[in-house]
């Protein structure tokens, strides 16, 4: 045994939803070797490094199924606009003026730092210069499913979709097989890419055996456009061009009819729910309860800090559970345990990585978080799932282990220079503010 997470209430998120009081997790290399009672594991611990977990909840690292980490530098830069306006009038121009390799380097560091501190151990990302995103993620010791963005218009990193596809191919070649990084292709959406370029992105993905990350059926304007241009819903259109399959991670999937739900399930697509972003941009409410009932793999996500404005998956669990209840007028909709499932094993399924992550089980990757329960706002505690979803928050995360490596212990980072990252973020804030004076004047 190399590492022994010792004591605490172990929430396995396995098929039986076992919760082990005074439990423990034994880790060999990057892998979980045993999960059980502390007393049973103790004799085998030998000289293994100990992480004392007494008084904490020990659970699988959380999985953020859809992010644009570098956009953390745009946190709160433009508010109170619809998705379409927000993208066209603010975000795309702001990106054109500011997004360089250096921006992506520091923005991703900021986003990854926030995610790790909040107990997220795996994230899916869609952005530009994704090779830099991969380097930052690897340096931080975090797990990522990282998609190089393809759009029809001139992007910050490439002037043409062909150039972006060529970059994506090299990016995938460089990173595939990496134990932490799963490189992929991210055709942005059906409204920012032609059919031809969507097909080209899908072809590249299939040729390289890499996942496709895409925004799908996010907002009403997208559905309208799809029906007008193709006579089909966004999901039906994407399916008609052969894009959907068991390698696809579809962010949002809000605007779905019964047929669309059946299509997603049949094709083995993963769905990612972004409740904060969908509420804030008034995109709509995902039919989470219906999707889960149909057997769809559903993960949970923060979306970018520009549309949320944080990378806090505790908040998303909280809001996801409450939003389903009130919109269905049924307080039993999406109980707390299902929200925790979406943030862990459900997210792993949606990212097609459930053989490796998402639960504390022997043979899986040792991605583990420890959450303190001593805070006033978490006292008393009657039910662990209820507490995770409705009372605890990102700040209560004490320690984070990824692939058997301790990346945060008692809130001290071991792989990232927090003061340096925050200083750079302030520098960028000044630069971005200056650039936005121009954007607003357009």
């Amino acid at each position: 045994m190399d590492l022994f997470v010792r004591g605490g209430t172990v929430i396995t998120m396995d098929a039986e939803f076992r919760v082990i009081e005074d439990g423990g997790v034994a880790i060999e290399g990057d892998t979980i070797a045993a999960v059980g009672r502390r007393a049973d594991l103790e004799p085998k611990a030998g000289n293994a490094r100990r992480i004392e977990a007494g008084g904490t909840l020990v659970m699988p690292g959380m999985i953020n199924g859809h992010a644009h980490a570098a956009m953390s530098l745009f946190r709160g830069v433009a508010e109170d606009h619809s998705l379409n306006d927000w993208l066209e009038k603010y975000i795309f121009p702001a990106e054109a003026r500011n997004v360089t390799e250096d921006f992506v380097l520091w923005g991703t560091r900021l986003g990854v730092l926030e995610m790790l501190r909040g107990g997220i151990t795996t994230y899916a990302d869609m952005y530009y210069f994704e090779d830099i995103v991969a380097r930052v993620t690897k340096e931080a010791g975090m797990r990522g499913v990282l998609g190089q963005t393809i759009v029809d218009f001139p992007a910050p990193d490439h002037r043409t979709p062909a150039a972006a596809l060529a970059y994506a191919e090299k990016f995938i070649e460089r990173w595939r097989g990496d134990p932490l990084i799963t490189p992929g292709v991210a055709p942005h959406s059906m409204y920012t890419l032609s059919t031809e370029n969507l097909k080209a992105a899908a072809a590249l993905s299939r040729r390289m055996g890499a996942p496709i990350l895409i925004h799908a059926a996010e907002a009403p304007f997208e559905s309208e456009l799809s029906h007008k241009k193709h006579g089909l819903s966004p999901v039906a259109y994407l399916d008609s061009i052969g894009l959907l399959g068991p390698d696809v991670i579809a962010a949002h999937t809000v605007w779905l009819d019964e047929e669309d739900i059946a299509t997603l399930v049949r094709r083995g697509v993963g769905s990612i729910h972004n409740p904060s972003s969908n509420m804030k941009l008034a995109s709509g409410v995902m039919r989470v309860v219906d999707l889960l009932a149909a057997g769809q793999a559903v993960g949970l996500a923060t979306d970018s800090a520009a549309s949320n404005n944080n990378q806090d998956l505790f908040q998303e669990m909280n809001i996801a559970a409450k939003l389903q209840k009130v919109t269905r007028m049924d307080p039993r909709a999406l109980p707390a345990r299902q929200a925790v499932e979406m943030a862990t094993i459900g997210g792993a399924r949606a990212l097609h990585l459930d053989d490796q992550i998402g639960s504390l089980e022997v043979g899986k990757q040792a991605d583990i978080i420890l959450i303190g329960t001593a805070a006033t706002h978490a006292t008393p505690m009657y039910n662990v799932y209820s507490q995770l979803v409705y009372a605890l928050n990102a700040h209560d995360v004490r320690s984070v282990v990824i692939a058997g490596k301790v990346v945060m212990e008692d809130r001290v980072m071991s792989t990232m220079d927090k003061p340096g990252i925050l200083a750079k973020a302030h520098e960028y804030q000044r630069r971005i503010s200056a650039s936005l004076v121009e954007v607003r004047a357009i």
Copy 2:
């Protein structure tokens, strides 16, 4: 000058929404003597105690317009039930078995501790043994509008409504005129009290010049009952019996028609929005945008930790803004600044205390909080309101001043014994868990 809050970005929430960079607040006794630029106030500070506010947001203490603080001991005790089931099958029986004077003492301490640590300086409470609630609140140095609960059925503190009314009268006599405590009467709701007893509660309130706190138009079953019994909506019924007036604080007010909105405005009633509770219990979505447009005073609240499950007004600001946007499918609905308004000066109006609290203005009570902005999740910052609503959280509150007294500085409490309170909460958890075995067996 007795106390000088020195530096920081001062968010006044005054009529002009002035925000002062490198500002300051001068305090004499319990009152704000000056608000301005640090450099202008500095020469007058003399030997005043300093609170260094550099790098923080300095704003009016937040106002929690509807709580049942003692119920913090029931945090997460029963989940995924409708309001009616939750009350009848779980909460009322759990209360009958557990709620004593000692329970209210420690439960209120726990709730008040959590509120103070999250930047709440004033709260409205409705519970049993309210005299004890007042004692705890006063001890903690917090401000409270505290209503003694009246219900028709035998309550934990009184077997009859007449006994509860008699207690309420003594309670009001004892506390009225207190600088921190505003005692009131809390007839629970139109569905737990007869017309006769509602009228008696209102009469007592008017005779004593004390506010009325009531749950009103919270959930569909209440509307149905009101229409069936009285042929009127809950608001119309309460108005028909003379209960509504400028001394009434109505929690929830979710199920309103146009006539009801006009009635609330005309009568000068304050409305309190509880988004988390309304979502979690599937009570419905308050028409906040319509109420504000009609000129209604609207505050924000957590409701109890049994239906939320925390006392975090940052979370309520966040959820309130997002919930209006998505349910109206309009991203411009309830912008960040309006959410901050509801948590401060709007809440003060709804509690009929806006001449004393809710903004940083000369002559008002010195209820001030300092919020740190150095955290990763709050970097960078482009707009203070956006940051408060969408990025910062209760844990970022550093220091709290109420009526000129420092009750928390750099997260250290000066008026409350945190370890002692948490230890007692754990003791109660064991006792309540045991009692619930019986409740569930019913």
